[in-house]
Each structure stands twice: as C-alpha cells, then as structure tokens.
Amino acid sequence: MAGDASRRLAVFAIVTCVFAIGGRTPGAQQTSDPIVGVLDGYAEGRYDDALARLRTLGSARVIRDRLRDQGQRWIASADPARRERRLEIAAIVALEAAHIGFAAAGQPGVPYGTKNLQQLFDTRQLLEVGCAWVRQGTASEFERVWLLASVALQQSVQNHYRVYTEIRFSDNRTVNPEVPFRDVMPQYSLWMQNADLQEWDLAHWGHATSRFPDEPRFALAKILARPEVRRLPNRPGTAAMFMTQGFGSSEFDRLPELEKLAASVVRQTFVDLGRFLDRPGVSAEANLRRGILQFHQARLVDSLDSLRAATKEADRDIAYLAHLYAGLALDGLNRRSEAVDAFEAALRVVPDARSAVVALAADLFQLDRRAEASARLAAAFARPAPDDPWRRFSLGDYRFWPDYLNRLREAARS
C-alpha cells in the first residue's frame, strides 16, 4: 500500500517549498508543539495515548491549524526515506481528529445544533488537510482506503442536511436548491450559507472520483447522500413528508411542490442506482437501496425482488437489512408467516438484533402465537444487544470505519 513514494515525495517537496516561501520553515520543527507529540505517539503505535492527547488539544479548528502547520513541518523534518510514512501517519491522524471532531459536535449521525456549526465546519476542513496530503503523487491503495474512510465519516454526518445540487435528471434538469433550502427551510439556508457543507461534500467527492474513477463506492456515495435515500427507513410514505417536520401549518401548503421535487429525485435515483446493480462490491447495496425505495413507494412485490438480490451479501449489515425489509414488505402484503421466516433469517445474520426481534415478535403476536412472541422477546432481552444494522442505516459507509482505520494503521506500520 506504500504506493509511489518517490512521485508523492516530489510533490511534497514542492509543497514544502511553498511553505518555505511563505515564511514558514518546515525544517525548523517545534518539538514542543503538542500535535507533534500526538504524531510521534501515533507513529510509535501508541494509538490510545496519542488519541487521548489529541482530545486535549482544543477545538477542531485548533487541531486543524496545528496539523496543517506543525504537522507539515513534522513530515518535512524527517529524512526522505521516512517522509512517506510520516505523511501517512499525519493523514491518519487527520482522520482520527475528524472522527473526534464530529463526535464533539454530536454523535455521528446526529443532527447538529447551530452552536456546533463551526465545529462541524472546522472538522470538515480537518479532513481536507489530510485529503490534500494523500492526493499527492500517484494514486495508491493507501490513498484509496483513506478516501474511503473519509467518505465514511462524511456520510456519518449527512443526516441533517441535503445534498441536492449534484443531481442531474435524465432530461438535463437539475434540482433547484432554492426550494428546500431558501424558502421552505430558512434555517437550512442559513446553515448552508455559513458552513458551505454541501459544496464541501461535492468537492470531496470530486477529489475521490477524480483519483479513483473506477471505485464505485465513491459514485454510490453521491447517490446515498440524497435525503430520499438516506432517511431512516421507518415505513412506506411519501418521500417529501419528512421535510415538513419542524414547520407550522402554512408550510404544508408547499407539500405538493415538495412532493413533486422528491418524486423527481426518487425517479432519477432509480436510474442512477441501475448503473450499480451488477457492479462487484456494491451490487448488493445498490439492490438493497433500490428495494428500500420501492418499499417506500409501496411497490412491495418489486421490493422483494430487489431485496432478495441483496440477501446473499457477505456484508452483514446489507444482508440483515435485506432480510428485515423483506419481512416488512411481506407484512405489507399480509404474508405474515413468510415475514416471520424473513425476520428469522435476519436474526441468523445478527442474532438478537432488537429491530428484527421486535418485528418478529409482533408478527408472532398477531398470528396468535403469543407465548412464542413473549418468549422470543424475553430471551433476547436477557442477552446484551448487538450492534443493530437498522440503527446505523442512515450512517452509510460509516459502518466500515473501524475496518478502514485498521487497514490504514496496518499500512502505516509496514
């Protein structure tokens, strides 16, 4: 995964020169800066200690500035043979800091308050510092995994805003962001104007896809960012209805307009997902997402076909959700006994997962198998709850974060 070190370092040398011209002296490392201690500790594999120190350094903005300045110097101060590894370490620390930053603004996937807006924005820029480092030189496997990890973090915090401007419909129309952002959602407008989050997301995807045009997960991430695809999948309903939450009755007058917009987005999303249904690595997820959209459109039989294509997936989250949704779709078709089988299948993938246990019990209860329903609940609650893929559905690729991080650490060690 080390990649093309010589070309990357050549670019890095240019960057270093720019710093020097700007009055900064990369070689004159200030070892007293605490970020250097973090980087050294991380390089030595003392991850917990390094992260504990990182958490004491201040806000995401402070860490961003220190990483950008002192981190750059820390990389440059190494002898050429070690610079590549230092660059990788610093880039991973940028990811780790972003992860901490998002958590400080709120749990990943949790809507952020305006008071945390700056923290969120600064954290995005922290990722950008790391992104600028890894994009130097020839594309490498390390860079690919780093970008995958950064997109996973990006997806973990997309629940509270909408990424519309990238959608281009088949007839060349584009979504008009004025509708959701400016008129109906004035708070979002303020949010977006201040934080520029959407533009950042789009720019970051641009980095990822330009470097790895054949990586389908980057392209899929753009589709999954659309609120119609990302919303927590409670049940069938119109895609735009959730937009009304938080508003008074006058805004409900806008519903037809919003419905129309959302319907257009969903139609285009089916087209876009169609490109991934047979792509290795993401076909199961594309089928799952298509099945969920069909479910929300009350096209339950179509939904079952899509979901079945996803149930054989090795990714346990995808397989679990495909079985779970199949159960919900079968419930909608009043095929309750088959729904029981589907929920049982989900529980074979993730035993005791609460969402499937309760859904299974609900069907058993309605089938007049009440003792069985009660017993299944009691047995599940007697054991610790596992991570439930349903709960992190809207966090997208964030489920891969631990794996990506481990792979990056391993690569930096080798």
């Binding site: 749990q107 945390n116 938080g246 508003f247 309605q366 609650f381």
Partner: protein
C-alpha cells in the same frame, strides 16, 4: 352521565376458566364458546373514582350486542407493572432524578405486585426484569442515545404474556415521538388491539404535538433546530396515532408539566396506579356475535348520576 362519556375498558384479558390455572401455557383466547372476556373499566364521578358499583350497575355491548355481565372484580388482583422511560437525547433531561425516582417506585406497589423497567433511546433495554414490588428498584446501567424507539418499546411491553390471575399495566414516560423503530405505528396499534395490557402515556405538557412546537422544544431543550428531522413518522398527526394506541387498550395520555426537566415521575405514576387499582374487571361470555375479528366494545354505567367511564375500545380475535 347516565351511561358513557367515553367508553374505555382498562384491561382486557381474554381468558377461560379451564385454562386459568395454567401459567406457563399460551394465554387462553377466544377458542370456544366457554371463553370469557375480562374488561377493565374505570369510572369517575367528576375527579373522584367510583368504587361501589356492582354488576347490575353496568351495561356492556360487544359489537353492538348487549352482553350479560357474569362477574365483577375490583382492586384485589395483583399487578404486573411495566415502566418505560424515554432516555433518548431529547428526553433524558435529568437521569439522576430518574434514578432517584425509580428507587421510590416500591413505595407505590403492593407486596404481590411485580415491576419491570424498560428504557429506550436508539433501542430498547430491559433495566431489570419483573421483580417483586417490594424489592429495591435500582438503575445500574442507563445508556442514552440520540433517537427514540417509541414503537418498539411500547410493543415490547404490550406483547408480554401476563399470567391469568394478574393484570398488566404499562406506564410510559415519553414525548411519544418515534424516529428509529422498525415497527410502524400501525403495527403498534395492531398489537394494542390484541394485548390484554393497559397502556398509559405520560407526556410533557409543554410538548403540544404540532411539529412547530416540536421544533421549538428542540431549540430550547437541547439546541438542535431539527431534532426529529429524519425518520420520524412523516405525518402531522403521527403522535395522535401513538396516543390512539394507548386509548385502544383503555389507557390514556397524561400531560405533566416539567417532565424530563426535573419533575418526578412518581406523582403521575402514583395517580395512575391508584386509579387502576380502583377500576373494575367485568367478565362476560360473548354471545350473539361473530367470534373472529375486531370486537368493538361499549360500556355504560346505568346507575343514576353523571359518570365518566373509560374502557377499552374493543379487542381483536383471530378468525382461526
């Protein structure tokens, strides 16, 4: 009033005498003509519970057909009480207060009662299973989360298999807004139609149920302008449907000021328990009605006077 102000039956137990002693088996249901229905009924005159009524003071209709009330029971039946507390980020305002409140729950229960505590945020957790009411109630581990699995918590409680000689009361302290359950509110209502339990919801009175006020609550409580932006049932009357589930069982909503902001849960819980103990259980054997499907109930008090009668709206029997 002479009759019914609002029909509600407090607990419906589908039972039969031949199976009543069998605690470990499937609860008796409407499988034969000898099956009996137990209907819990709460009666008030003004704000005062009325607890001297007899079988002749009630009139009960099943599917519009007047039924003969065979027996009546009052508050001597031991209770299984399931408490549900919302510890999602929006509601977990004062966990220390909550822990202290739970310690006080045994003082409200009788020796033969049992109590169970469920908490929910992103998912449902059993803090402790059913235990004798007199035992200390201790909250050791309480994990808050960002979302509220209201449907799953309520459904989990309502699907509990109560023993025939006990009554099951479920009291949930929540804003009633779900944003992460796999179960729909419609499924919750379907379960409510089949459960023998009675569900009461204790809801903050400063949370009025329109989405506009939800937004306001979010701003003032914890700083999120869009606390329930995603995933919530996208229906402006969504929470009414949760409350409707409680009313199907014969329970109701209770608005309490300051809930989750330091107000003790013990006050409303004490009142709900007290009212429930002073309610009646009417027993009858359905006659003249089809066995399967939804049975709409109506209960009236025939004694002279103005009474507020709260009873379950009906019950569901599988057609098979």
């Amino acid at each position: 009033m002479r009759g019914t102000l609002a029909a509600s039956v407090l607990t419906l137990l589908l039972t039969s005498g031949s199976r009543a002693a069998s605690r470990q088996q499937e609860p008796p249901t409407f499988r034969a003509s000898v099956d009996a229905v137990l209907v819990d009924v709460a009666v008030r005159a003004g704000n005062t519970p009325v607890n001297d009524l007899t079988t002749t003071d009630f009139a009960l209709w099943d599917q519009g057909v007047r039924q003969e009330i065979r027996a009546i029971r009052t508050g001597s039946v031991p209770l299984d009480v399931t408490l549900i507390v919302d510890v999602s980020r929006s509601r977990a305002g004062n966990l220390a207060q909550f822990r202290a409140d739970v310690n006080g729950v045994p003082t409200l229960l009788q020796p033969a009662d049992r109590v169970r505590l469920l908490a929910f945020s992103n998912e449902v957790t059993e803090i402790f299973p059913f235990q004798p009411g007199a035992l200390p109630a201790v909250v050791n581990d309480l994990k808050t989360g960002s979302f509220g699995a209201v449907h799953e918590a309520l459904a989990t409680a309502l699907m509990y298999q109560v023993e025939p000689d006990r009554r099951h009361l479920v009291v949930a302290f929540t804003d009633g807004l779900d944003n992460i359950s796999a179960l729909s509110v419609h499924t919750l209502q379907a379960i409510a139609k089949r459960t023998p339990a009675v569900l009461h919801l204790v809801i903050p009175s400063d949370n009025r149920g329109s989405w506009a006020s939800v937004m306001e609550l979010g701003r003032t409580d914890y700083g999120d302008p869009f606390p329930v932006l995603l995933g919530t049932e996208g229906h402006p009357r969504y929470r009414d449907m949760v409350i409707d589930a409680a009313e199907i069982t014969g329970g109701q909503e209770h608005r309490v000021g300051g809930l989750f902001r330091g107000e003790s849960i013990l006050g409303p819980l004490k009142q709900i328990l007290s009212d429930y103990r002073r309610s009646y259980q009417l027993q009858y054997q359905p006659s003249g009605v089809a066995r399967g499907g939804w049975h709409e109930l109506k209960v009236e008090v025939t004694r002279r006077g103005r009474y507020n009668v709260r009873a379950r709206r009906g019950y569901f029997v599988d057609a098979k």
